[in-house]
């Protein structure tokens, strides 16, 4: 569905040096990205600010011309075949609206029908579906400028889907939304992804988005892919570990040691152990229970944030 090879985008940045002189520097925002996405996949595209996520998305959608490399989306080359491609993809840019600010929400959907030349019955069916799933009914007669950000985002999602796109690109779809709206957007996208006929590509800063929605994760940093795979693969590759945290009633008489278990910290009666690669918590818990009386115990799964923070930090130093 999507294929890129050696995709690259350079920008010329000019910075002031001294009073009048300007120094021009070429910066590669995207520096050789190879990507292959199959039909029906849901892919999370992740990276710190300025990593080249949006730039990549803009090249995939035909907004920006790549400096070098090959792209094919739905079998088309985005910039030269921009209008053809536009009929087959949907795009939600979190900070760019497809809606008519001063008109009722319903009018925007109607105008998009004309823009994409969707037959009226098909459009009506698709709209009714989105209206129900996203609870848009009461919002249809409201001018877009009076909608809250969350309501507007639900409108944007609908606007991007009315022409039944094969690929839906979402650039930070949950940015700035409150918890309830985020939940609604995620729920909707999960259902869309499950149906399997729409390929979803989303960039986000919100890791909860990724954990809820995407099996596949592509992490970029400094314009390069640093990870492409599932979240579990990410954890095992970057050595994130499950932890066992216990609260004791009394101090241990002697330290508990087991192969594959490391004591991370001991604060008073709270001990935190790390489980190295694939070690089970069972043996450790049994040993602890035998050695002392336990007040509380928890097994903590590794947080994706930690891995990614470590990844970025590594990128920044090296």
């Amino acid at each position: 569905m999507i294929e890129t090879a050696g995709l690259r985008k350079e920008f010329v940045v000019s910075a002031k040096v001294g009073k009048l002189r300007r120094e021009r520097r070429v910066v590669a925002a995207v520096d050789g990205i190879d990507l292959r996405v199959e039909r029906g996949e849901t892919l999370g595209y992740l990276g710190p600010n300025g990593a080249g996520k949006s730039t990549t998305l803009k090249m995939l959608t035909g907004v920006l011309t790549p400096t070098a490399g090959r792209i094919s989306v739905c079998g088309l080359t985005p910039v030269p075949q921009r209008t053809q491609l536009a009929r087959r993809i949907g795009v939600v840019f979190g900070q760019r609206s497809q809606l008519w600010w001063d008109l009722p929400l319903r009018d925007s959907f109607d105008l998009l029908r004309h823009i994409y030349r969707v037959p009226a019955p098909e459009h009506a069916g698709r709209l009714a579906e989105c209206v129900e799933l996203l609870d848009l009914g009461p919002l249809l007669p409201v001018p877009v400028r009076q909608l809250s950000l969350g309501q507007r985002m639900r409108g944007e999602l609908t606007a991007a889907l009315l022409h039944r796109p094969e690929v839906l690109f979402l650039d930070e779809p949950t940015i700035g939304l409150d918890v309830v709206s985020k939940q609604a957007v995620r729920e909707f996208l999960t259902q869309l992804g499950r149906r399997g006929d729409t390929t979803l590509i989303l960039t986000t800063h919100d890791l909860a988005d990724i954990e809820r929605l995407c099996r596949r994760l592509v992490i970029v940093d400094h314009g390069r892919v640093v990870h492409d795979g599932t979240a579990e693969e990410l954890h095992s590759r970057y050595g994130s570990r499950r932890r066992v945290v216990v609260d004791l009633d009394e101090p241990l008489a002697e330290p508990v040691t087991l192969p594959g278990v490391a004591l991370e910290s001991a604060e008073g009666l709270r001990l935190t152990y790390q489980l190295v690669d694939g070690t089970n918590a069972g043996a450790l818990v049994a040993r602890l229970a035998a050695a002392a009386s336990l007040r509380d115990l928890a097994v903590v799964e590794p947080a994706i944030e930690d891995v990614i923070a470590r990844l970025y930090a590594r990128g920044a130093t090296g």
């Binding site: 011309t65 760019r96 600010w101």
Partner: protein, 264 residues
């Protein structure tokens, strides 16, 4: 395709009709603009009986041609100077992911109906100019009387687009662009003979402003060119307009390719 743009155009008008007061204020403001253009020509004839070899009635015809042509262009393409706003806010990205041309979308979505007032006014001024100038009518001249302001409109429109495209490279280029578009209107409001040397060659022939008013007016009036140009120059305005439109289209496409978008 045309139908799609008509839907979009109606939506623009519907959206703007929500701001009636600002519409009224703008309409009044622009109508003063037309008056000012005409008055500025009248002022010269308070002190002189002829302007660079042309009596008032002939100079007035040229001024009215320039004003009418410019008003047409301003109505259709004047909003290209909002490109910098569209680039800065990222609205252009949203237009680029739709299956329509970007330029026609911009022209339709930023259409300003208030500019219609100026077109109507300058049409009236042009009609008066034609009547007052004493044109010896023939079918060919009647055709030219229609084609000339349309060609002028296309030429000014091309300049709006070509100089507006500069915003793809240099975002704060509106003043630079205005210098050529509004400057071109003022240039063509006076007979070409007023100007001399490099200035005349650069703006009159280089950018084609001589074909907005001066040469068509000569042909309408049946006057020989005091600058010794051949008579057929008076009929060249449509060709000049087409060439300008093609060139402007090329510059625009180049600009879109160079578009850098803005963050996130």
């Amino acid at each position: 395709m045309v139908e799609t743009y008509l839907h979009l155009l109606r939506a623009t008008v519907r959206a703007q009709s929500q701001y009636r007061l600002s519409f009224a204020v703008d309409a009044v403001g622009t109508s003063f603009g037309v008056l000012l253009d005409v008055v500025s020509v009248l002022v010269f004839f308070r002190v002189t009986r002829s302007l660079a070899g042309f009596p008032f009635r002939e100079a007035f015809l040229m001024a009215s041609l320039a004003t009418f042509g410019f008003a047409l262009a301003d109505l259709v393409a004047g909003n290209v100077d909002l490109l910098r706003f569209n680039v800065r806010t990222g609205r252009l990205d949203a237009l680029l992911v739709r299956p329509l041309g970007v330029l026609p979308q911009l022209l339709v979505l930023d259409f300003a109906p208030r500019r219609l007032g100026r077109v109507v006014e300058s049409l009236v001024v042009y009609a008066v100019g034609l009547g007052y100038a004493g044109v010896g009518w023939s079918p060919a001249r009647a055709l030219l009387a229609v084609l000339a302001p349309l060609s002028g409109g296309v030429l000014y429109g091309a300049l709006f687009v070509a100089f507006g495209s500069v915003a793809f490279w240099w975002i704060e280029s509106a003043e630079f662009a205005n210098g050529f578009t509004y400057g071109g209107r003022d240039f063509a409001a006076y007979p070409l003979t007023v100007y001399s040397g490099l200035f005349r060659r650069l703006f009159g022939y280089g950018l084609g402003f001589a074909f907005v008013s001066y040469y068509p007016a000569l042909a309408l009036l049946g006057r020989a060119d005091p600058l010794h140009g051949p008579d057929w120059l008076g009929w060249c305005a449509p060709l000049v307009a087409i060439a300008a439109a093609l060139a402007a289209g090329g510059v625009w496409r180049l600009g879109v390719r160079h578009y850098r978008s803005t963050g996130s």
